[in-house]
């Protein structure tokens, strides 16, 4: 159907998007790559100098890097388990014909729409504060000692906050996927005497497989670069206990003004994210055919 004429119009219509995105991606990324090989500190202007792989060596051998990498993986892994597991349970529950289903659904998805700085501060102050927080009051009421969440269990606290934000996302996506499940197939299996567990394992779970994979991959992309939640709660501390890769690069860049080091870290973060991105893009690409 596409003639030469419409094809060139189509190209013209796509051009702005393609050119802008290309510029947005290629220019900064190649600058980052270039900076990563320079000795470049904003506090010492005019001293830029070729540094080879020094920045990478410096960044990777810094003990903080290993801590940050481990924290990043622990954060991503734990939040995935909590949000996908909890989200799946919530979705299964919400898919039942319960009273007030629509309202419960609104309650459950609400946290996803709360901006990260608000949720982090609300949790930090009103829940996790060691003296005035609700958790402290609760512990007090039970006769237990109050815990200073953010200084004694900083990473766990951040995992809780971030899971609270992402569980609704998983629940919403999985619930949508559940609703497209073939009812007749379910009823047939039930007539044949398949137990609820078997029906879940053999019909529901396979049906949800793709949605679960999509949720895991998309969450991973976002969770790899959690930032605001750390900035306003623990600032990465105490020490480096709750510093993830994004936050470490941020401290290197905007607090120590070490452009070279931060760029090397940025490239490492890009590589890490790409490993996940490849799987996600394949999966979505496969879906595009049908």
């Amino acid at each position: 159907m596409a003639t030469m004429h419409t094809r060139s119009i189509a190209r013209l219509m796509m051009a702005p998007s393609v050119i802008l995105l290309l510029g947005w991606m290629l220019i900064p990324l190649s600058m980052t790559l270039y900076f990563s090989f320079l000795r470049y500190n904003l506090l010492m202007p005019g001293m830029e100098d070729w540094a080879g792989v020094f920045n990478y060596e410096y960044f990777v051998t810094d003990p903080a890097f290993v801590t940050a990498l481990v924290n990043t993986l622990v954060l991503v892994g734990s939040v995935l388990v909590i949000s996908v597991g909890g989200g799946l349970l919530m979705a299964l529950l919400l898919n039942q014909p319960i009273f007030g289903q629509g309202i419960v659904r609104l309650l459950v998805i609400a946290p996803f729409f709360v901006m990260p700085t608000v949720s982090a501060l609300v949790w930090k102050n009103m829940f996790m504060h060691p003296v005035y927080g609700l958790f402290a009051s609760l512990a007090h009421g039970l006769g237990l000692p109050a815990i200073d969440w953010l200084s004694s269990a900083p990473l766990l606290s951040i995992i809780l906050i971030v899971s609270w934000q992402w569980l609704p996302f998983a629940a919403l996506i999985l619930l949508t996927a559940l609703q497209s499940l073939d009812e007749e197939q379910m009823e047939a299996a039930e007539m044949d005497g398949a137990s609820a567990v078997r029906r879940f394992a053999h019909i529901t779970l396979p049906h949800l497989a793709r949605a679960i994979t999509v949720v895991i991959l998309i969450e991973t992309i976002f969770l790899l670069s959690v930032f605001a939640e750390i900035l306003v709660t623990t600032s990465g501390g105490p020490g480096y206990d709750s510093t993830n890769l994004s936050y470490l690069i941020y401290t290197q860049a905007l607090l120590q003004f070490d452009v070279g080091g931060a760029s090397a870290g940025g490239i490492i973060a890009v590589i890490l994210a790409n490993i996940v991105a490849i799987f996600l893009i394949r999966l979505i690409g496969k879906n595009l055919e049908t």
Binding site: T6, R7, M13, M14, P16, S17, L20, L21, W24, M25, P28, L29, T32, M90, L93, P97, I98, Q101, I103, R105, L106, L107, I109, A110, P111, F112, F113, V114, M115, T117, V118, L121, K124, M126, Y132, L134, A136, H140, W164, L172, T176, E183, M186, E187, V214, V215, I218, I221, L224, S225, F227, A228, Y250, A253, S263, A277, I281, L283, I284, G285
Partner: protein, 276 residues
């Protein structure tokens, strides 16, 4: 499975769902309640849930102390501005890809998606330096540009999946009836495309409103939207929980309501059409 619940089970599931739902929602509810307390009651131990002296003074004080309205306006300008600009760029692209696809269309879509996966820290330093040199740091223009670029791939994708569902045959039919290109777009395509465009705008506004990496790193006082303004409450001097709660309630309420109205479209946008 859903149709055959015994009444007993239905009640049990209902109770369980409500308890869990309220538990998940509780932090938001607590924030809203705290916003109506005095600072003293906000940190009272044991805390009071409903039986306190309800007051609106936090809402007025937030404005008096920090010119809250300015940050609201910044948020509105950035999220609506980036959505409008994004739409102008994305609609033609999505349109072309949906209605005259070529061999390369799929590759371009995939590549656009991949730019969304680029972690912000990977491009932070150059963007920061470029913005510094161009005088775009802490300006609404700069942040609107960034937000447009950050969300452009999602806009193109979401519009594409909507446009794709408009049947091509209908165009042929209109052409047979002698419709001109302009009429074709105005009377046949536009009514079918509007719902998709509206949902795309909604998702984009929500995402831009809540974005908190670029807003925190590229703004200081002037162009700070609500995400960055609220972060200023993290300083440990003094406890201003009631005011923090009032500022937070106002910051999240409009987006929460928008989000509640657009659940289904959000699923499509957030999963790039993989789950509908």
């Amino acid at each position: 499975m859903a149709r055959t619940l015994t009444p007993k089970r239905k009640v049990a599931f209902t109770v369980l769902a409500w308890v869990l739902g309220l538990l998940i929602f509780f932090p938001i509810l607590w924030t809203v309640l705290t916003s109506f307390k005095t600072e003293g009651e906000a940190i009272a131990n044991p805390p009071s849930f409903l039986f306190f002296d309800w007051t609106l003074e936090n809402y007025t004080e937030v404005q008096e102390r920090s010119n809250y309205l300015r940050h609201v306006i910044n948020s509105v300008v950035i999220s609506f501005g980036s959505t409008a600009i994004g739409l102008l760029i994305a609609v033609p692209a999505a349109w072309a890809m949906a209605f005259s696809p070529t061999k390369r269309t799929k590759g371009i879509l995939m590549w656009m998606l991949s730019t969304k996966m680029l972690p912000a820290v990977g491009v932070m330093m150059p963007i920061y330096l470029i913005f510094r040199d161009l005088g775009l740091l802490d300006t609404l223009l700069g942040l609107t540009i960034v937000m447009t670029m950050v969300n452009l791939p999602i806009m193109v994708w979401m519009l594409y999946t909507y446009f794709k569902e408009i049947p091509g045959d209908i165009l042929e039919a209109a052409r047979m009836d002698g419709a001109q290109l302009g009429q074709e777009i105005l009377y046949v395509l536009a009514p079918m495309a509007v719902p998709g465009i509206a949902s795309t705008c909604l998702l984009n506004i929500i995402l831009a409103w809540n974005e908190a990496f670029w807003t925190l790193n590229l703004t200081a006082a002037d162009a700070a939207p609500l995400t960055a303004f609220i972060a200023s409450y993290s300083s440990p001097e003094g406890l201003f929980w009631a005011k923090l709660s009032a500022a937070s309630t106002m910051a999240i309420a409009p987006i929460l309501i928008l989000g509640w109205f657009s659940q289904r479209q959000l699923v499509r946008g957030l999963t790039f059409g993989a789950v509908k």
